[in-house]
């Protein structure tokens, strides 16, 4: 029975008068493939921002690997092993693709096992299919290459938990499979992965367990089969 790697306990997040997260709880086991879905505006990215530390919470707590991390700044969390990619890619535009990974390696990745240094960056780029662009700036990359760079940069941080925030939005079918294959491979290496996606076939194929959010609350949890048949989920996506 795998232990819980990430425990989110009753997290509340308010923006002025608007409650984005209303006491959300979930728990992700070590090595699990976890899916997080929900209609637009349900609070998925807000939850991820709270877990990664970008946003402070108004209530509840977050524990990672048994350690209380509520209130810890993002850079420290990434050193513990919580790494995320961004929905809208945010590459370091003044550096080459390789140096983008270098930052993660030097700062977040160096804190844990794995040899820091250029060999590692090249390996990651090769495994993800970006080695042809190693010495280019992000400005010259295509859509899917930017998404891959986001993932590669996260990988270079040697994550224990990788949160992939809509990495496949707007990609073609083959490209989606491409990214999916990378994520499966990472999980096989032992990395716990939380996938946030709108592309249902990807989430259903990938996840072992799924949590559904709607309007800042958890409305369903279960295996992909259970979720597909869940009445509350249908209601959330299609309306009454």
């Amino acid at each position: 029975m795998a232990a819980a790697l990430l425990e989110v306990d009753g997290v509340v997040k308010r923006f002025g008068g608007f409650t984005a997260l209303n006491g959300v709880s979930l728990s992700v086991k070590a090595g699990e493939r976890f899916g997080l879905i929900g209609p637009n505006g349900s609070g998925k990215t807000t939850l991820i921002n709270c877990v990664s530390g970008v946003l402070p919470v108004n209530g509840g707590s977050i524990r990672f690997d048994g350690q209380e991390i509520t209130g810890m700044p993002p850079h420290q969390r990434s050193r513990l092993g919580i790494v995320r990619s961004f929905q809208i890619p945010k590459p370091f535009t003044s550096m080459t693709v390789r140096d983008n990974l270098g930052i993660s390696l030097e700062y977040a990745g160096a804190a844990r096992a794995g040899a820091p240094g250029s060999a590692s960056a090249e390996d990651i780029l090769r495994s993800i299919g970006l080695e042809a662009k190693t010495h280019l700036r992000p400005g010259g990359l295509t859509q899917i290459e930017m998404r891959k760079l986001e993932l590669a940069r996260a990988m270079a941080a040697h994550p224990k938990l990788l949160i992939s925030d809509e990495a496949m939005a707007g990609l073609s079918s083959t490209e989606v499979d491409d990214i999916l294959e990378i994520l499966f491979r990472l999980n096989a290496q032992g990395i716990t992965i939380i996938m946030i996606e709108h592309i249902m076939r990807a989430v259903m194929r990938f996840s072992e367990r799924i949590v559904v959010l709607d309007a800042g609350e958890r409305i369903a949890e279960g295996t992909p089969d259970e979720i597909v048949r869940h009445p509350a989920v249908e209601r959330a996506y299609l309306g009454e």
Binding site: S52, G53, V54, P73, P74, H75, Q76, S78, R79, V83, R84, F86, K90, P91, F92, T93, S94, M95, D99, G102, I103, S104, E106, Y107, A108, G109, A111, R153, A154, A157
Partner: protein
């Protein structure tokens, strides 16, 4: 390590040349103009450590420069401190000022930091103008100490400025190539992503503001001995504010070379212009050039060169 040693040797050679120049009697105006240009090399380099490397714009350069100058005035008047002490103290006070402003505003967006630096310059000038001990709004005169180690006092100060210029460029270059420099570049490109990839952005920003402030204060510390009469309007001159921005922007903000190019080009142009046109027209032109560059060639001369080489 080889590259750093090479840079150090070049630096020492330049300082040596400076000493030689100080002793040889060249046209005296050369030393005055040279001092100002070299001072701008330090100022532009210092500004760029925060502005170019980290992406946080400091509009209050006069505040830090004047902090250095007035700390020196204070120490000269009270204990007749020697020049090295003035340099160190001026730098430390200005560095602390940078740290303070940074601590108060850097957790917010960059625009708040910039606005705070603007208001800071005005406020500090008010404080100094009300402080009689350092001369208040009328200013105070400062007597140069006797016996400079070589040359006359002016040529000696010229050499000191050569040394400060070399030192500041070496410091900037060192930072740029270090892990800290890479972290600063990451936070400049995308602060949120950098933070999530393990870069301690607040700590690095505070580092940059402190070092930048320190160097600006060091640039200002010899000022009292250079002008011998210090008054707020010249110590807090608008020239420093606009040149500290214009020189790195014109030269190029991503590398240590940019501020140097900008300082030498713009500084020399201004020294020539000062004798032909009014100082206000001179400032007006600098302002226009600054706006033109920021709109049309934001990456400066270095950027244009890079583009021509086909990067």
């Amino acid at each position: 390590m080889g590259r750093t040693a090479g840079a150090l040797l070049i630096g020492i050679a330049i300082v040596g040349a400076g000493i030689a120049l100080a002793v040889v009697k060249v046209n005296p105006y050369f030393y005055f103009a040279g001092y100002v240009i070299l001072q701008y090399v330090v100022i532009a380099t210092a500004w760029n450590i925060l502005g170019g490397y980290a992406g946080y714009v400091n509009f209050g350069t006069p505040a830090f420069f004047a902090m250095g100058a007035y700390t020196a005035v204070l120490l000269i008047k009270s204990v007749k401190a020697p020049l090295p002490v003035l340099l160190l103290a001026g730098g430390l006070v200005a560095g602390l000022l940078g740290l303070g402003i940074g601590y108060l505003t850097l957790r917010l967006r960059g625009t708040f930091f910039s606005i705070a630096t603007l208001a800071l310059a005005v406020m500090l000038q008010t404080v100094v103008m009300n402080w009689e001990y350092v001369g208040g709004s009328r200013g105070t005169s400062v007597i140069r100490p006797p016996g400079p180690p070589f040359g006359s006092y002016v040529t000696f100060l010229f050499t000191v400025m050569v040394g400060l210029a070399v030192a500041s460029v070496l410091i900037a270059r060192f930072i740029e190539r270090s892990r800290i420099g890479r972290g600063l570049a990451a936070l400049r490109d995308s602060e949120e992503a950098a933070e999530c990839m393990g870069v301690p952005t607040l700590r690095l920003k505070l580092f940059a503001t402190t070092v930048s402030g320190f160097l600006l204060g060091v640039a200002g510390a010899p000022f009292p001995y250079y002008v011998t009469f210090v008054e707020p309007n010249s110590a807090f001159a608008l020239d420093y504010a606009v040149n500290a921005l214009a020189m790195p922007m014109i030269g190029g903000t991503t590398s240590w070379l940019g501020p140097v190019i900008g300082a030498v080009l713009l500084g020399t142009a201004q020294q020539i212009a000062i004798v032909t046109i009014s100082s206000e027209m001179n400032l007006f032109i600098v302002g226009v050039v600054l706006v033109l560059f920021v709109v049309l060639a934001p990456e400066g001369i270095l950027g244009l060169v890079r583009r021509m080489r086909g990067h």
